[in-house]
């Protein structure tokens, strides 16, 4: 398990490659990457991500440990950035290795659903019009019920 919180960019290709190499007992690798999207009505200048330094790493490690408990997973990787990012920059990534594709997919989806609503990050969109905190979505909270219903 590898969990990283950093301001600097990460190298998606190098991380994915390093994660997958030598997994001879694992048949399936899934990665998810989040990218700063420019979909605002006024062009997005930047996205600022605030976090809770004392809690962030602990929260991410807890989510990753829970994923390993629930699914048949090998290695798990979580990288999440904070600070000022511009459109097209990668915000975060997760990767899961598993013997079978179902666990690899579900493990990654579980990580993402919990990262969205349970990891202490707050996003703010900066445009020429000013800065707006991104509101949490009901859909993200609802996504968690999928996992709560399970044993």
């Amino acid at each position: 398990m590898r969990v990283i919180v950093q301001e600097a960019p990460f190298d998606l290709g190098a991380e994915t490659s390093a994660f997958a190499i030598g997994e001879t007992k694992m048949g399936a690798i899934v990665t998810f990457t989040g990218i700063v999207r420019d979909l605002a009505k006024t062009p997005l200048e930047a996205m600022e991500i605030e976090h809770y330094p004392g809690m962030t790493l602990k929260a991410l490690e807890g989510i990753a440990a829970e994923a390993k408990k629930r699914f048949s997973l090998g290695n798990v990787l979580v990288i999440h950035r904070y600070g000022r990012l511009t459109p097209g920059e990668m915000i975060m990534m997760v990767a899961t290795a598993a013997p079978h594709r179902k666990d690899a997919f579900e493990g990654a989806e579980f990580l993402m659903d919990y990262l969205k609503s349970r990891a202490p990050f707050w996003k703010r969109e900066i445009t020429a019009q000013g800065a707006d905190w991104v509101a949490s979505k009901d859909a993200d909270e609802d996504a968690l019920t999928r996992w709560e219903a399970k044993p």
Binding site: Y52, L115, K116, A119, P120
Partner: protein, 81 residues
């Protein structure tokens, strides 16, 4: 006890953190104490359903005990990922 604020809660209260002597037994009592202090707290804590709380860096509820707690953080729903 250290009280931390993040995102728009931090902006409304005007500071990212402050130290506080309190006898509040749980989070809800702490909130009432803060709201009574100044208008900016009353505004920030107006709608608790729009807020989340962590005690000693663990997400919890507003009825959570503050016994032995050293750090309480208030913030809006998280938007990670």
């Amino acid at each position: 006890m250290d009280i931390l604020y993040f995102a728009w809660v931090r902006e409304r209260i005007g500071v990212p953190r402050e130290a506080l002597e309190t006898k509040a037994k749980n989070v809800a009592e702490l909130v009432e104490e803060l709201k009574a202090r100044e208008e900016r707290y009353a505004v920030a804590f107006e709608d608790l359903s729009a807020l989340r709380v962590a005690v000693d860096q663990e997400l919890t509820d507003f009825d959570a005990s503050l016994e032995n707690a050293t750090e309480v953080a208030f913030f809006p729903p998280m938007t990670g990922g």
